[in-house]
Each structure stands twice: as C-alpha cells, then as structure tokens.
Homo-oligomer: 208 residues x 2
Amino acid sequence: MVDRPAKVRRTQTQRREESIARLVQACIDCLVETGYHQTSTLAVARRAGLSQGALFRHFSSRLALLERTANELADRFIAHYRKHLDELASQDKGDITLAIRTLRDITRSPEQLAWFELQQAARTDAELCDVFQPVFLRNQQDNVNLAAELFPETLGDLPMMSELLQTLIQIFHGQTLDAHIEQNEEKDEQMLALTIRLAQLGLSVFKA
Amino acid sequence: MVDRPAKVRRTQTQRREESIARLVQACIDCLVETGYHQTSTLAVARRAGLSQGALFRHFSSRLALLERTANELADRFIAHYRKHLDELASQDKGDITLAIRTLRDITRSPEQLAWFELQQAARTDAELCDVFQPVFLRNQQDNVNLAAELFPETLGDLPMMSELLQTLIQIFHGQTLDAHIEQNEEKDEQMLALTIRLAQLGLSVFKA
DNA sequence: AATAATAGAGAGCGTCCACTCTCTAAATGG
DNA sequence: CCATTTAGAGAGTGGACGCTCTCTATTATT
C-alpha cells in the first residue's frame, strides 16, 4: 500500500501563492531549457504539476505570466549578488578580481539564461517589450546601486561606473552565448582572464 | 490598359537561383522584423512573393532554409567589413578609432540582428545548433583573418588578438540589444565612446 | 450545516504551424 | 513538336498553440 501523504489543509491564500510560485519557477525552467517560444502555457502548467486551466486562473494571459517571471528574475539577481558578493567585499576592498569572477559565474546562472530569452524576444514583440522594459531598467539601477554599496571604496564615486559595469555585464553575456556554441572550456577561461585584465585596466585609468 | 511586363524567358537555373535568393532575403527580413519563431515558412514565402509549396521545392525543411540563410549572413559580413574597412585601413594604419566605430555600425546592421536570432535560438534547439555551429566558427575565423589582413601593423602579431576582437564584438552585441530596450541615444553614444577608450587601452597594453 | 467564493481539472475552439500532395506552367532535350 | 523534367500554386493534414468554458474540489462565511 502506498503511503499517501495526508492532504494538508491550507488557506486559499497559501494555495494561491504556492501555485503561483510553482508556475513562475516552472516558467523560468522552461525558458532556460527549451527557450522562449517553447515556453507554452501548457508546458509551464505541466511542469508545475497543474493544469492549463489552473494557470489561466492565476494569470490572465501568457504575457502576464512572463511579466511576473521577469520581475521574479530581477529580484533573484539582487539576492544572488548580495549573497555571493558581500563577504568578498568585506575582505578585498581593493582588489575586485574575485568579485569580477563571481559576477561572471552569476552571469552563467540559469536565471540569466531565462533573462536573455525574454530580452531577445522583447526585441520583436511590442507587447512583451512594453512589459519588460521597466523591469529591465529597474534591474540596471539595482546593479549599479548594489555595486556602489558593496564596493564603496573601489566603485563609490568612479566616473562612468554605471557604464563600465554595464559593459562588463555585456561582455559576460556575450561570453555566455558564445560559450554555448564554441564548447571550448579552455578558451572560455582565457576570455575570462582577458576580461579581468581589461576591467582592472579600465578601473585604474578611470580612477585617476 | 496596364503595361504588363513582357514575361522574360529565363533558364531553369536562373529561375531556381533567383527564387532561392528571394527566399533567403525574405528569411533575413523576417528574422530581423519579426524574430525567429515568427519566421514561418509561409511568412517567408509570402514575403518572397512565392507560395509555400515553392519554398519546399527549394528547401527540404525550414531548418535547411535557416542553414542557407546563416551561410548567406556569414558571407555578407565579410563583404561588409571589406567594403567599409579597407579604405579606412589604407589611411589610418595606426589609429583604429574609426575602424572600431565602423565595426559598431556594422554590428547594428539588419544582418547582425538576424544572426542574433539564430544564435539565441540555437541555444535551445539541438538541430539548429548542429547546423549553425560550423557557420558560427567559420565567421569567427573570417573576422580574425580579415582584421589581421586589413590592419597588419596594428593587429598583425598582437597576442590575444582573436580574443580581444571577439570581446569587442561581444560588447557591441550587448550594446545593440540593450539599446533596443533603453532607447536612449545619448547613452548609446557614451557607451560607444567608453568602448573605444577601453579598446585603445587594451591595444596599447597588449602591444608592449 | 448551508451557502458562497475560490482553486483546479480537462475538454473544446479557432488559428497557425511545418510539411505533403496534387495539379498546372514553364523550360529542356530529342 | 513532343516527351520529360523542373518550377510553382494552392488545398489538405495532423499537431501545437493561446485561451475559454464547464464542471468538480476545496476553503471561507454565516
């Protein structure tokens, strides 16, 4: 006899929030593993262990689900950065080599891949663009704020800091995409080393 | 009375090649304007002024069309670079500022946007990845060869030249995508200026 | 305990997809 | 000029899509 788990009694709010959380997580997983246009409402619902009908009870449309997912991603990025970087910041106030390396690793997270899918899709989808743009801008501001907060001495009042950081992230994004196609770990590591060298170069020059 | 164009008699080879060229161009346009997953065989055929049936006479599948399109894109990139850069190379052997600026402009071409769509889609589509990978690698090698050929004195025997160039292109790719969402021309120009400064920095250091 | 409101399941709808099939138009080779 | 081959049109097919609808299960309210 199977030991069926006794059905726990939950409030409606709990049911609702748990289901929504499962759907959003399933949406992220789908974006990462199968890409934007395979992230169908049915695929997400199945992965969340729910029916398609249940999905549409909580989200009025596929777009609404994607909007919620984008916001969840932006929230997680801040959490990731904070978790991995604040201890580094406390020990290596001057040298940001490790911080850059960590930034690269975070860039390789599943969440970033999901983010790419949304950003790319938004280019040719006006509705998605409208929805994604504010989340995108908020994320950018979050990055800058966090960098200044965690590395006040190194980055606090650096001119062009925001643009430098964005450029660094752009490089890592490109490396992530290229690495998927090249599948050459040695070169991948070389590219990282080069990027660190360039970043240090940029830092030392702009500091003066 | 409408002056109907007299039907020109063409050979089968001409008909075939003209139709294929129109289909490939239509495929590029579709990728640029509507994105990968809206680039359907019907949409491409209509845009080329042909029927869906005609498309499938020349291409055994949608994937075959995309493969041919990817190769056409890679070919055009070399042509673009050569056309825009060789006159620059002949006058400014030392300073590559203008060359970098031109590289950025080329990165903004419709063809590059089509290329992104394919690269991003290849991440989660194993079949497309198999088809796209060799074209991608060829394009990378083409870039390096051309850079060394056009700027022999500046880049000819620079260590890490290939990686530096790839990083530069990655930055421009990122800027292209971000610019679409930010829609802030002033900042876009700032990012370009910063990139040029970084590139010159990198050059001067690695040259030594 | 009875009623109302919400969560969820699952069938159904219209549309678009890649691709096939059949049929006509045009070019080729004898 | 005729037979064969190739180019192209367009209807048809099965499947997946976003979304709606109806019906049941669970929770909330009185």
